[in-house]
């Protein structure tokens, strides 16, 4: 028996939020039906219950705004214009985007609502809708509102960094769509991160001010980029100057050829009467002089033009390849698509 009672308590506790939501929606639905049947006197108590602080059930912002709006509409029909304006203002203050459909409401209700709008100043911006935008062909759209004529300044900035970019600065009245091309104040594509759109307004009628702010995350969708070629390592380049050792080896090579020529002539000619060594002497002298001259030249002018040219060619080829890579990467970056998603507040971003 106790188990059954406990189960009943658990079920009741579990269902209570749904019941609360349902109660408010149900009551709002009933009030709406009474209003449609022009039974204003029966609709008003129900709507007042919903906006009452004593109403025990949960009321969403939309439900509360809806209740205030219909309270204003009902009171207008009841001829209580001042009270109607108050309730309309309450709806507008809670949601500046609140509107009356001219096809549904009477001209008197519309006029009363207009009066409420003139007396209440508020600006707002709709939460950002998730979107995938190619900045070359499309724009990110924000919807802002001023309840009546006002000087409105809309700025977009990266959270925690950067200079804000002004997207709109002018007089407006009502709802307006602001577009953003994805660029920041420096005319560069906005990097990934969290951004804030701030709307500040000053009423042209009352002089009062209001502001609103919305956050969104921005991500880039870009094709994978290619890596550029690394710097040429020392071993990938030819030596551009003779080393002192190489210059000294030239002397050894020249003397080696000279010795070899004399050796060939002397050794082979021994049993054929020695004698004719003129040819070998010429080659030996030429080789010795060549070795010494090469040593002196390389010591004073050690540059190796062929290697310098070959290295320059390799560097130019690398630079050309990197320029091509950078070009292709630039094309890919230029084709970056912006992914926009709503965010709850300031933070580190995606």
């Amino acid at each position: 028996m106790r188990a059954v009672a406990l189960a009943a308590i658990v079920v009741t506790a579990t269902m209570s939020p749904l019941t609360a939501q349902g109660s408010t929606a149900e009551l709002l639905g009933q009030a709406h039906e009474f209003y449609e049947r022009l039974e204003v006197e029966r609709a008003l108590p129900l709507l007042r219950q919903i906006v009452s602080p004593n109403w025990p059930f949960e009321v969403t912002q939309e439900q509360r705004v809806e209740a205030y709006k219909y309270l204003g509409a009902c009171l207008t029909l009841a001829g209580k214009r001042d009270s109607a304006v108050l309730y309309f203002r309450a709806a507008i203050e809670r949601d500046p985007f609140t509107e009356l459909d001219p096809n549904v409401f009477t001209p008197a209700q519309l006029a009363t609502f207009g009066e409420a709008q003139r007396r209440t100043f508020a600006v707002a911006v709709r939460p950002v809708e998730p979107a995938r935008v190619d900045p070359r062909t499309a724009r990110v759209t924000f919807t802002i509102v001023a309840t009546h004529a006002a000087l409105v300044d809309v700025k977009l900035s990266a959270v925690g960094a950067g200079q804000p970019r002004s997207l709109f600065q002018s007089t407006m009245d009502g709802v307006r769509e602001i577009t953003w091309d994805g660029l920041l104040a420096d005319r560069r594509l906005a990097p990934p991160g969290r951004y804030a759109l701030a709307v500040a307004g000053r009423s042209r009628l009352t002089g009062t001010s209001d502001s609103a702010r919305v956050y969104f995350d921005l991500r880039h969708e870009v094709a994978p980029l290619e890596d550029t070629l690394p710097d040429l390592e020392r071993r990938a380049l030819l030596p551009e100057r003779m080393s002192p050792e190489a210059a000294r080896r030239d002397v050894a090579k020249g003397l080696g050829v000279a010795a070899a020529a004399l050796l060939i002539a002397g050794a082979a000619n021994g049993d054929l009467g020695g004698g004719e060594r003129g040819g070998a002497d010429v080659v030996a002298a030429t080789a010795a002089v060549t070795g010494i001259v090469a040593f002196l030249v390389h010591r004073h002018h050690g540059a190796i033009p062929e290697n310098v040219a070959a290295n320059a060619r390799r560097r130019a080829e690398r630079d050309s390849a990197n320029a091509s890579v950078r070009g292709r990467n630039a094309d890919r970056i230029a084709a970056t698509v912006l992914l926009v998603s709503p965010a709850a507040g300031e933070g580190t971003g995606p």
């Binding site: 050829v257 002539a265 049993d271 054929l272 004719e276 003129g278 040819g279 070998a280 030996a284 080789a287």
Partner: protein, 213 residues
């Protein structure tokens, strides 16, 4: 005749090279001052004179080359020695085995003629050429050595020992190479009737190598 066959073989070898291999032709006119010495038991006979000739080399890719050489000239004998004319036609195949080393095999037909008669030689050589670059790569030292394992000379038995050695320098300017070289060929024939014939041909050569294509 045999030389012609070797030349034909070289041609076949060249034709067997990969079709895609890049061919390069160089020609190298040369001028030599040659000295011929022979001791046939009557003392050393010495003759000296200029020789003109040329070498044409066809390269089949970076490793293989075939060269044909031809030269001729007159050697003027010293006192009491007959003047003689010399001419040679030869072919040689080369394979680059290391960047600085080329192995070579060749054959040549050589003729000496005097007013008394004519002697022909057939030479087969196996050897190599080493090139070592001076700093800067424009100058190379050249070292050649070859054994002549098969030598026949008309009227003579083949030599017991025959070799060729040479050394020199090459100066390269763009597609032109100027070479200066001292070379020597030595032939030691077996003794006959107690007489041992020794013969050698040495030369100081200047060669201008031109790359045609």
């Amino acid at each position: 005749m045999r030389a012609a066959a070797v030349i034909a073989g070289a041609g076949i070898l060249g034709g067997a090279a990969p079709a895609g291999a890049q061919r390069a032709l160089t020609v190298a006119p040369l001028v030599s001052l040659a000295e011929h010495r022979v001791d046939a038991g009557f003392g050393v006979e010495r003759s000296l004179g200029p020789i003109l000739g040329g070498v044409g080399t066809l390269r089949f890719g970076p490793r293989l080359a075939v060269a044909v050489r031809a030269f001729g000239g007159s050697l003027f004998g010293s006192t009491g020695v007959l003047d003689r004319d010399v001419g040679e036609l030869g072919v040689e195949a080369s394979v680059v085995t290391l960047p600085w080393l080329v192995l070579q095999a060749g054959a040549a037909r050589r003729a000496y003629s005097t007013k008394l008669g004519r002697q022909t030689w057939t030479l087969v050589s196996l050897g190599g050429t080493a090139r070592m670059a001076f700093a800067g790569d424009a100058i190379h030292s050249v070292w050649r050595a070859a054994l002549l394992p098969a030598v026949s000379a008309s009227g003579l038995r083949g030599p017991d020992m025959a070799f060729r050695a040479a050394t020199g320098l090459e100066y390269r300017i763009r597609t032109t190479t100027l070479g200066v070289e001292y070379s020597l060929e030595r032939y030691d024939f077996p003794a006959e009737a107690g007489v041992r014939r020794l013969e050698q041909l040495s030369a100081l050569s200047l060669r201008l190598e031109l790359r045609l294509r």
